[in-house]
Symmetry: C2
Subunit: 422 residues, 2 copies
């Protein structure tokens, strides 16, 4: 009965896939996560923009793993990893020992040392983040409708998105749809088409990891939707009244942060070398130096590709790393026998609004409506569970034809408490 | 352009139906609600029990009314009604004047003077309430799984529901399903079939407004599902450790309040006679004494039927009252011309678990599986919007065949903060 104990920290793409690949192995596997669900993060912006419900993109981890009797799921926050004592410590003081450890704790946003910006410009990593952003966007329109003058309403109808990566581009497109389509006939006192959406990117192009031609396409799509794309400029300040972009101040009550990432804080307790983003610099087998029984995968790891370039923080990287480590453990491979991890790049895609996307598959680049259809197909395919696939697909079909959004709800904070704060 | 101004307070069944019936009339209609959505309250317990998502049973009020150009929707909390100055005051200080006023502000739970019980035994009226209860139920199982001993885990696996009306019965049935079906293969350290569910009703029968034969049926259904039904006994104390039912103490960390109602507090600012539940005692045309231009409807009103008995707090009563008042206003009827409001009773139903219900239609009583099918049909029929009908129906079909629940999510509060509080 006493099998070797493997502890996995985190039930995201990396941790969950490691667990699944260890299902029914002769190992005693424990998965620990702060929440009770696996989140399909690529569609999180659709929760933030009221198109999908949390239940559509999140599934209880213990339900996904319920058929593997060797896996125990524990909900808890790990605050310390003691690599020499081979134990992790939870916030409530519980100690959980391990023989093998797979760290897949992911990343949070980074405000580049300006932590006071977090309350003013929330980022998008968890369901809670998404619902906070959704509520802020919806409350802005409600506040605008209550204003007595157009000039007063204006600041509630300005939206600033900081960071022109996939999340920033997707949010900008979604807000444009909300303002110019969904809300069109919903207000009497304000003109929602006066909404202004600014997307700010510090580098010369949005979606900078894509080929320049596709970045330009994406910019063109966004501009046609009504988004003002500002590239090559940095946000220098954020206040409760708006954002300063170099010398220009944009008054806005709705600022969304989609700029930087910082790996999870618990990695600092490991006492191993971290990169600038706080990620653990792992060896070619994803283990940490001198501790071949401890692995770090996904956004928590800085792993190199064949050319010595760090692998990107994408779901497929985490998935493949999770499966790779599980294979090493199933085969009980000693450090010296382990083949190096190799990432197989299946390509990447980003969507802009309801009908456009861009994509790269090896040397093939494509964009437009068919790229968007491919994007829909791939995302529904990778969702976990038949029910979620079915629900998401039907919500999309519904939105496509009606421009309505299925989860336009405000219920967490009363508008009045927000109003008095201005 | 300056039409007569009608202000409606509340977008529940009463207020929303009044507004719809005034759509495109030559009246300037304003609807004010604290939230941005109309909530289909009869299915709220399904959100609390993780079967449906908030978006499935709630629709933005301004979307429902978007085609009526004479209706302005304002999100805000009314704190004072000045019946002589003909003005309502919002929490932020805004004054909104009216010529006619329809008050449909509903009810909250009442703890019979024991307000300290609210934090320990939350009630179920809003989406926020439902999500709080959902999270508490799910976290209980998570906490139990973390316990080192069975005796420690036990208190997390005891559920107490206070109040044997429709909400209490529905919640008890839903929790039984969660414990004995949904969670069955999900835990490794605890045995979820050890879960105990207590339903406490002070009067001799649960569902006391139904004929005794049906109440007994409902009790039988619940007991077969594993619920312990305790009737004729009152809860005398609630602590963080459990509930005292006369001389018996039931240790439990999950107590749900489904016992009493209290009409909305803003009615007290009207300065008119209220009944014991804080409802306004209205005249036969639903107006208040000496103010024929102010009406109170739904759960905020105490209106009498032909026999002088107060009408029950049911959705159909509120709907019919809303339409009745709208008719009076459309016809500009003077007080003396107004026919008294008459409630047309179409019957009522309550559901017990996933496959059973009871119902009364005039002299016809029925129960069992076909009653449950009828219950499903009626509830889907009365939902607003094609999308919601479609989603709810497909979620029910999915749950019926798999026993899974579509929204088993914990994301609002970390388990650790709860754990330390015990």
């Amino acid at each position: 009965m006493a099998h070797t104990k493997v502890v996995i920290l985190g039930g995201g793409f990396g941790g969950l896939n490691a667990a699944k690949a260890l299902g029914n192995a002769k190992l005693d596997v424990w998965l620990i996560d702060q929440t009770n669900h696996h989140l399909f993060q690529p569609l999180l912006y659709q929760v933030a923009s009221a198109a999908l419900s949390p239940g559509d993109i999140a599934v209880p981890i213990r339900e996904i793993l319920s058929n593997y009797e060797n896996i125990t799921v524990i909900m808890g926050e790990v605050v310390k990893i003691d690599k020499d004592a081979k134990v992790v410590v939870l916030r409530n003081g519980d100690h959980i020992g391990f023989e093998y450890l797979i760290i897949a704790t992911g990343a949070r946003h980074s405000y580049f040392g300006r932590d006071e910006w977090e309350a003013l410009a929330p980022g998008l990593k968890t369901l809670n983040d998404a619902l906070k952003i959704r509520e802020r966007i919806l409350i802005s329109f409600e506040k605008a409708e209550r204003c007595d003058s157009i000039s007063e309403a204006k600041k509630y109808l300005n939206f600033v998105i900081i960071g022109g990566g996939p999340t920033g581009v997707e949010m900008a497109g979604a807000i444009a749809e909300i303002a110019y389509e969904t809300m069109l006939k919903n207000f009497r006192r304000i003109d929602v088409t006066k909404t202004k959406i600014y997307l700010i990117e510090g580098s010369p192009h949005i979606l900078p990891v894509y080929p320049e031609r596709l970045s330009e396409k994406a910019k063109h799509y966004l501009e046609r939707m009504g988004v003002q794309v500002i590239t090559g400029k940095r946000v220098t300040d954020i206040t409760s009244e708006g954002a300063k972009v170099e010398n220009t101040f944009i008054p806005a009550h709705n600022i969304i942060w989609a700029a930087g990432n910082q790996a999870s804080a618990v990695l600092q307790t490991l006492d191993v070398p971290l990169d600038r983003q706080g990620r653990v610099i792992v060896e070619s087998d994803l283990s940490i130096p001198d501790h071949p029984h401890i692995f770090v995968i996904g956004d928590a790891a800085c792993a190199m590709d064949e050319k010595g370039k760090p692998l990107p923080g994408l779901a497929p990287v985490a998935v493949q790393q999770g499966r790779y480590v599980a294979m090493l453990l199933r085969k009980r491979m000693a450090k010296s026998e382990r083949p190096p991890f190799r990432y197989f790049d299946k390509g990447s895609m980003a969507t802009i609004g309801k009908t456009k996307a861009i994509g790269v598959f090896g040397k093939i680049q494509f964009s437009g409506f068919f790229a968007w259809l491919a994007w829909c197909f791939v995302h529904v395919l990778y969702l976990i569970g038949f029910r979620n696939r079915f629900t998401v697909l039907s919500q999309w079909l519904f939105s496509y034809f009606t421009s309505r959004r299925g989860a336009r709800l405000i219920y967490r904070s009363p508008i009045e408490s927000e109003m008095t704060k201005k």
